[in-house]
């Protein structure tokens, strides 16, 4: 069975800049999401959105100061967490929601799924969830063939993990010893169905990868430093030519699958517990202050800076024009 990943993490062992950057990234992700929901409420953006609030630690921990621009990611379709952590400009992501030409798709309106920024290794995402798992082994194969030390991280939810593509991908990853890291964002629900209703596993989704001989573990995805550590190990493994890693990161979504989802299929007490006791931002903030590295005032200021950055990004995105009608005929072929 998959190892439950645990390490003693002491804040004093880390570069303070990294710790602040991790915090800032999580705050940025949440603030981005909250503001996007506000834009939906104002009727400017469609509610076809899957909020990533509650799972920021998983993305910040696995990307911030670990991945370079040349490393590839396939993000999952919950929030814009990984895109933001990978450094895609916020105005571009907002532009993709607002449908203005500021977006990465220059007005096509990528929404949550189809933003891309190849210059930062963000290769896009499949609207058919889980299809990115097949693409990821291809990108990793290309790096291996070219002889670079690039790594590919593919993110997907517990729901996507039940796609057939998962097994095809794991087989290739192990068979060809590919530099690919699987990060399964397990928030327990595929829309309304609990993971126990849809997955035949020993105990964990990560156990599937055990059958392929892929190093794997289950980790608390809401502990940003644990996520940092487990991903760092996986990246080192990939760079040394030791092949893939499968990380099942446990988390929980604070909101429903989509905006407007009554979210009444979960146990309210469980959700409250995640919000009160396992919120990645709240917990890390407490750790940072308790360690004496920073003060509450400083973090509040940081939050204000982030908010300011977000509002500016929205302004840029909103002020950009909508595309002309002929936009739909552009870019089909190179």
């Amino acid at each position: 069975m998959a190892e439950i990943y645990q390490r003693d993490v002491n804040l004093e062992d880390y570069d303070p800049d990294l710790l602040i950057e991790l915090y800032k990234t999580m705050v940025k992700i949440r603030s981005f999401d909250e503001n996007l929901i506000r834009l939906m409420q104002e009727g400017k953006v469609s509610g076809f959105y899957h909020s990533g609030i509650g799972s920021e630690g998983l993305s910040a921990g696995s990307i911030t100061k670990l991945l370079r621009d040349e490393d590839y990611i396939y993000y999952n379709h919950r929030g814009c967490n990984q895109k933001i952590a990978k450094g895609v400009p916020l105005s571009k992501i907002y532009g993709d929601f607002l449908g203005t030409i500021e977006g990465t798709t220059k007005g096509l309106g990528a929404g949550i799924v189809h933003s891309a920024d190849p210059s930062r290794g963000v290769l896009g995402q499949a609207g058919t969830i889980g299809s990115q798992l097949s693409l990821a082994v291809g990108s990793a194969f290309a790096s291996q063939m070219k002889g670079t030390d690039q790594v590919t991280i593919v993110y997907f939810g517990d729901g996507a993990a039940s796609r057939e593509t998962m097994h095809g991908s794991l087989n290739w990853a192990k068979l060809y010893n590919l530099p690919v890291i699987y990060i399964c964002e397990n928030n327990e629900y595929a829309i309304s169905c609990h993971v126990s209703e849809t997955h035949g596993v020993k105990a964990h989704i990560a156990d599937w990868s055990e059958g392929y001989g892929i190093p794997n573990c289950v980790v608390d995805g809401n502990d940003v430093l644990l996520m940092h550590e487990v991903t760092k190990e996986a990246i080192e493994r990939a760079k040394k030519g030791r092949g893939p890693t499968f990380i099942e990161a446990q988390t929980f979504r604070h909101r429903g699958h989509f905006e407007g989802d009554p979210y009444d299929y979960i146990d309210k007490a469980v959700l409250q517990d995640w919000k009160d006791n396992r919120d990645p931002i709240k917990n890390f903030k407490k750790q940072l202050i308790n360690s004496g590295l920073t003060t509450e005032d400083h973090l509040i200021n940081l939050g204000k800076q982030v908010e300011e950055e977000i509002l500016q990004a929205i302004e840029i995105a909103e002020n950009a024009p909508m595309p002309e009608r002929n936009r739909i005929y552009e870019g089909l072929f190179a």
């Binding site: 990465t104 798709t105 896009g124 291809g138 063939m145 190179a334």
Partner: protein, 328 residues
């Protein structure tokens, strides 16, 4: 000029393009050491080895998905093979949505230099899931170029163009054409997409045919010529892009049209071609457009029954005579 088989022509194209561009990577089921079940990829593994040429698991969705993931890095030019074109159904999402649309839906930021080879057609009692010609399904999918050669010459020139192209190509090879011999020059040449080839000139009617049916139509045209009917036989060579200009010029000249393909008739590529002809040249027609395709039923495994699916020269002759008999 030297004569070689279409198998040899395709194999030469692969050798030349893999030599020319070291970012090319060829993979699929049994394509490496075994040289492919149709022996089209022979000698490539021996020359280039893994990872440039490698055998994959039986996993069509992953084969095509991985090709997309390779292509969009900008560092690889994949040439995957699906052992039978029918297996496109297993990788439908990867072909229809990912190969075809990934570039567009991500704002045109990536290129898709994939040539997916798909052997198709009724041959040797392979049965309902190893004999189909699913080309037309993909005419409905934006972002996919569809190549269907009918001669060794076209096969080589079109495959080389496909591999060099920075967009997705579905390359359909009729299995009964692999052993067909034809003129192929020693020197290098390329054939552009969207350029139909007039395989035989004629004044009385236009036959538009693809793949093996080009050969069957030429055979029928010779017989028709003995009867005093001169058919023009046009091979579009690529269904996407489709060279309607060449087709319409011929239609305006002859006023009579027969479309022949091995794809089943309903919803086959001929349906689209017929629709476009009537949109552009209805009043140039002197008779209704006729189509011949294989019957709209699953293909039987029996070699005895198989012959009743594949359009033959006599059917073409009969159809032509019906068209010609329509009074002006």
């Amino acid at each position: 000029m030297r004569q070689i088989t279409m198998r040899e022509a395709l194999n030469e194209a692969l050798h030349e393009e893999m030599e020319r561009d070291e970012s090319t990577v060829l993979f699929g089921e049994d394509v490496a050491k075994f040289g492919g079940i149709n022996k089209v990829t022979q000698g490539l593994y021996e020359k280039y080895g893994a990872p440039r040429v490698y055998d994959t698991p039986i996993a069509e969705a992953t084969i095509v998905g991985a090709a997309v993931g390779m292509a969009i890095t900008g560092h690889a030019r994949p040439i995957p093979e699906l052992q039978f074109g029918d297996f496109a159904s297993i990788a439908f999402d990867e072909i229809f949505n990912k190969m075809g649309k990934w570039r567009f839906m991500h704002g045109g930021q990536m290129e898709m230099p994939i040539t997916l080879r798909l052997p198709v057609g009724i041959a040797g009692g392979a049965g309902p899931e190893h004999s189909q010609s699913p080309q037309a399904l993909f005419m409905h999918g934006p972002g996919l170029q569809i190549v269907v050669p009918s001669t060794p010459y076209d096969a080589k020139g079109l495959l080389k163009t496909s591999i060099r192209d920075n967009n997705a190509v579905l390359f359909f090879e009729h299995k009964l054409l692999y052993d067909m011999k034809g003129d192929v020059p020693e020197e290098e040449y390329l054939i552009p997409f969207g350029k139909a080839d007039i395989k035989r000139e004629g004044e009385d009617l236009t036959i538009i045919a693809t793949a093996l049916q080009v050969q069957t139509s030429l055979e029928a045209a010779e017989e028709l010529s003995n009867q005093g009917v001169e058919a023009e036989v046009i091979d579009p060579r690529t269904l996407a892009p489709l060279d309607m200009e060449t087709i319409l010029n011929s239609v305006r000249k002859t006023g009579r049209v027969l479309i022949v393909h091995e794809e089943s008739k309903t919803g086959g590529s001929g349906a689209e071609i017929a629709a476009q002809i009537q949109e552009e040249a209805l009043f140039d027609l002197e008779a209704p457009i006729k189509r011949i395709g294989s019957p709209d039923v699953p293909i039987a495994q029996s070699i005895h029954l198989e012959q009743f699916y594949r359009p033959n020269a006599q059917q073409i002759i009969n159809a032509v005579n019906e068209i010609i008999d329509v009074p002006v």
